[in-house]
């Protein structure tokens, strides 16, 4: 019996789906054991996901970032790795209600968009290109984490202001921790994303003799960068504490997704 090259991907997807379901049910049932079970299922999925990414690297001979399914999978992997680190550091359960579905969504995109794992055109391969892929993907992952914690901070702020603890009250850490994690993710992610974007522009100039093609992907990436900057600036100056920050976050999230959906470099 021969195993499908994507077996690890489907196993990861199954674990992520089960983990996300357990986490969401625990939000209603407030059952701690279910929440822990959800996390362990996600970790099992993460292990399988890592194996799949490794296998793609071996098969194609380049980092798994050259098309939509690969990039989507890598963002999901990075987002979960960071979330796991934050969980270990801050014991933030609530982030899982946003991060787990996001990871599941991104990996579902990978599984649904069947693109063949082809070796990249050698002419396109360069250090600038690899830097573009790696930095912009890491930047997007940081942006996602920043947004998730911005949402948590907003929910916590509203609960405290309205004196009505909602369902997430027990799972969310303090307002200070939410804002600190969000700020750090944005502050670290923004320069990385900027470097990724500049590398992309340079690579585009070298390969197509133009600075940028006006494609949905490029527009999405630039809009995401502007909103990323706006979010970071709002944290530095302390403005946009409420609903507006949330709107900017939602815009940045959509723009980053649009940019990712247009990825195709093979």
């Amino acid at each position: 019996m021969t195993l499908s090259p994507n077996a690890a991907l489907y196993i990861a997807l199954a674990f992520y789906a089960a983990g996300t379901l357990a986490a969401l049910v625990s939000l209603w049932s407030r059952e701690r054991r279910l929440q822990s079970a959800g996390l362990w299922l996600m970790i099992a999925g993460f292990v399988s996901h890592t194996i799949w990414i490794g296998s793609v690297c071996v098969r194609t001979g380049h980092p798994p970032l050259t098309n939509l399914p690969e990039a989507s999978s890598f963002v999901a992997w990075t987002v979960f790795a960071v979330e796991l680190g934050l969980f270990i550091r801050y014991r933030v359960h609530a982030a899982s209600f946003f991060v787990f579905p996001l990871v599941l969504l991104l990996l579902t995109i990978t599984a649904l968009v069947h693109e063949p794992f082809t070796r990249m055109d050698p002419q396109l391969r360069s250090r600038v290109f690899i830097a573009h892929l790696l930095f912009s993907t890491l930047g997007v992952a940081a942006l996602m984490i920043g947004i998730a914690f911005t949402v948590l901070a907003y929910v916590q702020d509203r609960a405290l202001k309205q004196k009505r603890p909602g369902r997430l009250w027990d799972w969310i850490p303090s307002l200070d921790i939410c804002r600190r994690v969000s700020y750090r993710a944005l502050a670290v992610g923004f320069p990385i994303y900027t470097v990724g974007l500049i590398a992309g522009v340079l690579w585009s100039y070298r390969t197509t003799a133009g600075l940028m093609e006006l494609r949905v992907k490029s527009v999405g990436a630039v809009v995401a960068w502007v909103l990323f900057a706006l979010l970071l600036q709002s944290y530095i100056t302390g403005i946009f504490r409420g609903r507006r920050t949330l709107l900017v976050s939602a815009g940045a999230f959509v723009a980053a997704l649009v940019a990712m959906l247009g990825i195709s470099h093979v």
């Binding site: 701690r32 916590q156 405290l160 004196k163 027990d170 303090s174 307002l175 200070d176 100056t237 302390g238």
Partner: protein, 421 residues
């Protein structure tokens, strides 16, 4: 072996009785030793808190109960007959259930309070140190500590504050996380404000400023919290540097108004400000609640938090009770299974002796054989014995779920059939 618990608590005895029975921390060792020295007592421990004094013992018979009541009466300097009406006696599984509930905070006056866990652990540690725990009590206390921990972690029963000062501290933690490094401004010296300041100090806030109309009183309070007394009229200028403000003055008007907070925020670099207004009439302008970054809670808001938390604790207590029941049943089964161990061992030894003797006799008759042949015959006989023993042993183990009489009858039957003494 009987497991017994004799004691009084806040539901069965008034404070006048409990205070006479109560065992100070310094007297705990002596009390446990004295209890253990009672005739007929195999293992002993004493749990003493402000709400209960309980003796937990294991003994060969239940005859020691009267002795335990007399021991308690002697300590209280009372007549055993008079004390009897306040005393409860628990036996076997009821002792297990009671200890699990006590250590989990389910039997406490404030359900889920965390101190009791430490007090039971202390009784356990002291008894262990003194060597007054027999294997049964040792197992019981070990399991009690495990169950109490499980109840706390799985249900989160102790997580929600059920007093106003503690609720204020919990809210402060929801805003700032770690309270270390924060600065508190205490406006006025009401009783509730003092309690809140005490709770905050216990969380190692960096500094406490106290402002009161009577400066002498402010100095006295500031000394207690290792802080500084400031003049009441200068309090507004401290808003920019403080993180938590607790107001409890007798002033009939707002002492802090929105304008003060707006001014303070200009110099706060976006740091949040938590304002707790414990006074009636209110001392802090309610309009401040609309300012971004300012979180204002008055006495009613805190009361609502406490009430909601009480309801939540009750729900969690129901979950905890179910968990305790499951743990009691599993502990009971474990004890019963252990009870069957001597019979199982004797059974195995008896059949092994028969097997060895018969094998030896058979090999003598057969004459010289190879090592492989000998191993094959030995394996055959061992397998036969194991198969013969399988069902009797299984029955003995599964009898854990049966009534004690049925269990005993089965044990006797098996012993009779296999000729055990």
């Amino acid at each position: 072996m009987s497991l017994l618990l004799v004691g009084v608590n806040h539901r069965t005895a008034p404070v006048e009785v409990r205070e006479r029975l109560s065992v100070l921390e310094s007297q705990l060792s002596e009390s446990i030793r004295s209890l253990h020295a009672q005739p007929g007592v195999d293992g002993a421990s004493v749990i003493s808190t402000c709400n209960r004094v309980e003796t937990v013992v294991s003994a060969a018979t239940e005859d020691v109960i009267r002795q335990l009541v007399e021991w308690l009466a002697e300590r209280a300097g009372a007549n055993a007959t008079d004390l009897e009406k306040h005393v409860y006696v628990l036996r076997h599984a009821d002792v297990v259930k009671h200890l699990f509930r006590v250590a989990s905070g389910l039997d406490s006056m404030i359900v889920g309070e965390p101190q009791i866990h430490g007090q039971v652990r202390q009784a356990f540690a002291t008894s262990q140190e003194l060597g007054t725990l027999d294997p049964l009590l040792q197992q019981l206390f070990e399991q009690t500590m495990r169950v109490a921990k499980k109840v706390r972690t799985e249900t989160g029963i102790g997580e929600h504050a059920v007093s106003v000062p503690y609720a204020a501290v919990e809210l402060a933690k929801k805003i700032f996380g770690d309270l270390r490094g924060l600065t508190v401004l205490l406006l006025g010296a009401g009783e509730m404000a003092e309690l809140t300041a005490e709770h905050l100090s216990a969380h190692e806030v960096r500094h406490v400023f106290v402002a009161n109309r009577s400066h002498d009183r402010a100095v006295e309070l500031a000394r207690r919290y290792h802080g500084d007394a400031i003049h009441f009229d200068a309090a507004e200028s401290y808003l920019a540097t403080c993180d938590i403000v607790v107001a409890s003055t007798a002033a009939p008007h707002h002492v802090i108004v929105a304008e003060h907070v707006h001014r303070a925020f200009a110099n706060r670099k976006n740091r949040n400000l938590f304002l707790i207004d414990l006074s009636v009439p209110r001392n802090i302008d309610p309009a401040i609640a609309r300012i971004e970054g300012a979180y204002l809670y008055n006495i009613d808001d805190l009361q609502h938090v406490v009430e909601a938390n009480r309801d939540q604790r009750q729900q969690k207590a129901d979950q905890a009770e179910e968990l305790v029941l499951r743990e009691v049943e599993s502990f009971r089964k474990r004890l019963v299974a252990q009870d069957a161990v001597p019979t199982i061992l004797e059974l195995q030894q008896r059949l092994e002796a028969i097997r060895a003797a018969e094998l030896e006799a058979c090999l003598r008759r057969v004459g010289p054989i190879t090592a492989e042949q000998r191993t094959a015959i030995e394996m055959l006989s061992t397998r036969m014995i194991n198969k013969i023993l399988h069902y009797p042993i299984l029955q003995l183990k599964e009898a854990a779920a049966d009534e004690p009489q049925e269990r005993e009858s089965l044990r006797r039957t098996i012993r009779k059939i296999f000729g055990l003494r």
